[in-house]
Symmetry: C2
Subunit: 189 residues, 2 copies
């Protein structure tokens, strides 16, 4: 099982946004949608051994975590609107501090990064990290930021995490996920 967590710094925590305006009114929800697609989609298949957490830190708060589980998820297509729709359904559900399913394989809870870091031994995908191609054993949980850098609180929380890089250029989070999964695929052969 491989876990990804993506921080959406401005991603709305309620469902009051339009699927037609995910980059704007939804707080760059499009970035998180692409991370979901990158985490799960193979050609005509899904990666059943992946779980993807979206940490939504935008308005109106408090922050929430949406979880996609590859071994259970249904109704997920690779286009942004598809994952956006499932995220929106999750955010429309009232939730507490434990994950509550909104659709098959998608669930939501209150809380964010601090709790996730207690639950998985995350590494940070970071352009300053060790090259994944040259690394020894890789961890099975990876944290990615959205279009914004980690803020001070996140930097403190992640200060001790191992850091890995997927290449020499600074990339979008979903592209980093694709590259990391390719490295894992190659090691699994």
């Amino acid at each position: 099982m491989t876990a990804f967590a993506v921080i959406g710094h401005r991603a709305r925590t309620d469902g009051s946004w339009s699927l037609n305006d995910m980059p704007g009114g939804a707080g760059r929800m499009d970035v998180l949608c692409r991370a979901v697609t990158a985490s799960f989609f193979l050609s005509h298949d899904l990666r059943r051994d992946v779980v993807c957490y979206l940490v939504l830190r935008g308005e109106p708060g408090p922050e929430k975590t949406v979880r996609f589980e590859g071994d259970r998820v249904r109704y997920l297509n690779p286009d942004e609107r598809s994952s956006g729709s499932l995220i929106q359904k999750a955010l429309a559900l009232s939730c507490g501090t434990e994950f509550r399913a909104s659709t098959k394989g998608v669930s939501v809870r209150e809380g964010g990064l601090a709790r996730l870091l207690d639950e998985h031994a995350f590494a940070l995908l970071d352009e300053g990290g060790a090259d994944v191609r040259a690394a020894g054993a890789l961890p099975d949980a990876f944290l990615v930021s959205d279009h914004m850098n980690l803020d001070e609180e996140e930097l403190v929380l992640t200060a001790d995490l191992p850091r890995f890089s997927v290449g020499p250029r600074s990339l979008h989070g979903d592209h980093a996920i694709t590259l990391l999964l390719n490295e894992l695929d190659r090691r699994a052969v």
Copy 2:
């Protein structure tokens, strides 16, 4: 300069489709939109040395080619609706056999794969090809299919092309583009 060409087997050749239904009524235009994003986007930057051709082979025909040029393109954001909107504007333009600009850095002409193959020395990204990591010099033009396999006509046209694979799993075209660009980035360091 690196060129990508993506074949959209069912992608509509006119602009009479909705940005809200790109996987359906537009003939899996979402696949082509993601290929555009993968071709150009770096974190807070664009790959100016990439050109991406979309070969639209769906209804109503005749087939058209939409070209995105990284050194000229404007108004392009990474979400699917953004590239979809630029594709739609290109398809709304009447065009002949030479590229005609619809917006900055986006242009369209009639014609498809056969003509592109005369203009660039393409290789085919194909899961049965040679591993790009182990390959010697790589070409500078790569052909990718959408969610469908190459048809008989395309197989004949591409029979003599070199073939490269980006990894052991069968992937979406945009993910293959991300992986290929990463390999080129690493070689350019």
